[in-house]
């Protein structure tokens, strides 16, 4: 199948979401290899999805948590008006607020996890072979459109990838695991194409 630039632009979003059939996927990849403009479009779209998908893009104003909890406390105490309930709620909110601070500081201390979304999951079979890039942060199923065109890719077991601080790609790993869970199939070891 040979496709033109316009077709690539129409399909590029579905391509990144893994929503195109294998024939179209191959056609897009073949076209992009020889087309500088479409390479720019695919790379750019991938950047957009990755940048905005990062947890750091979800900022809340200073004091947001505290004010939210105050409002909840107010609501709860209005609805029950028991001193014990209020005391427990206040204590819980202090604990939670403290917890958030700890969580925040630990996020910055752990740059290896790209985002909270991408925390390691024990749904990934430890022996499954996954793809990592030396300077990347996530591990992928072979063929994932989110593996950038990188020179140094390695295929290693998921267990090792997680030990090395890689987090599962929220796109391909999720799709893959959902598919294997629904088909009941054992995940095969993926090979590099």
């Amino acid at each position: 199948m040979v496709i033109n630039c316009e077709r690539v632009w129409r399909e590029v979003s579905d391509y990144l979401d893994g929503e195109v059939d294998p024939e179209l996927k191959a056609a897009i990849e073949e076209h992009v290899l020889g087309c500088q403009r479409c390479t720019a479009v695919v790379d750019g779209l991938r950047n957009v999805v990755q940048l905005y998908g990062d947890e750091r893009m979800m900022e809340v104003p200073a004091g947001f948590s505290r004010r939210l909890h105050q409002r909840l406390e107010g609501d709860m105490s209005r609805s029950r008006r028991t001193f014990l309930g209020w005391a427990v709620a206040a204590a819980a909110s202090v604990l939670v607020a403290g917890g958030i601070e700890v969580a925040r500081s630990s996020v910055f201390g752990r740059p290896s996890l790209r985002s909270e979304h991408a925390r390691p999951s024990n749904r990934v079979p430890p022996d499954m072979m996954v793809i990592v890039a030396e300077d990347g942060k996530t591990f992928h199923v072979a063929g994932c459109p989110f593996i950038h065109d990188k020179p140094r890719l390695r295929t290693i077991p998921a267990r090792e990838a997680e030990q090395e601080g890689y987090a599962p790609c929220v796109r391909c790993m999720k799709k893959y695991l959902d598919a294997t869970a629904s088909s009941g199939a054992n995940p095969p070891n993926e090979k590099l194409a």
Partner: protein, 218 residues
């Protein structure tokens, strides 16, 4: 079946949340703090994307969380709690938006473009951006500014799908539109953002950023 839609979640996470929800239903309201803690940012982000005003978004997020607590008995465990909560926030934000609009002259929203195809305008080479770039506040602000400049119908789909990580089906359900519309709008939102952000002549990056004179921010 689509239990894993959205972010990759620990299977134990859902069990844990179900136990918390049971405790809340049994009257232990304090467990609600623990339940919502991981999702506070996501609720605010959804509200902000729709309302584009920090103060309104905060009030809307608080209201959504209160509604979630009040309606916790209606939550069905076949859905994920996070998705349910985001959906409440989306509904609350949309309601407020409608109310704000009724005070103004109704804007005429012509989205003829949705049927026509959107061709990329910017072909500057934009290779992978290291995620460390996001440590820079001005970069995050530029991204937020670009997002708030695209049309509402595109922004809400993009935020639910690419920031909140809902699946296409969940996004469609939350917004009450078809999955085909989600896909069309998502394509357009992503392409528009790429055009706005890809470095190049005339792009906002090259105009407004001090480091942009011949040097890409990444």
């Amino acid at each position: 079946m689509d239990a894993g839609a959205g972010p990759l979640e620990h299977p134990a996470q859902q069990d844990y949340e179900e136990r918390l929800i049971q405790r809340i239903r049994d009257g232990e309201h304090e467990a609600f703090y623990v339940l919502i803690r991981p999702y506070e940012k996501r609720v605010y982000a959804a509200a902000l994307a729709l309302l584009r005003n920090g103060a309104d978004a905060e009030d809307c997020a608080q209201e959504a969380v209160l509604k979630a607590l009040k309606n916790i008995r209606q939550f069905r465990s076949e859905a994920k709690f996070s998705t349910w909560l985001i959906q409440i926030a989306v509904n609350e934000a949309r309601m407020r938006r409608r109310k704000q609009r009724s005070d103004l002259i109704e804007p005429i929203e012509k989205d003829l473009a949705e049927e026509s195809t959107y061709a990329p305008r910017e072909f500057a080479d934009w290779r992978e951006i290291p995620s460390e770039t996001l440590e820079r506040k001005e970069v995050r602000e530029k991204l937020a500014e670009a997002l708030s400049s695209i049309g509402e119908i595109y922004r809400e789909v993009f935020v639910l799908r690419d920031m909140e990580q809902l699946s296409i089906e969940e996004t469609a359900k939350a917004l009450g539109i078809s999955t085909a519309s989600v896909k069309t709008r998502l394509l357009r939102a992503r392409l528009m953002l790429r055009d706005l952000l890809a470095p190049g002549l005339g792009g906002p990056w090259s105009r407004d950023l001090s480091f942009a004179k011949g040097v890409k921010p990444w």
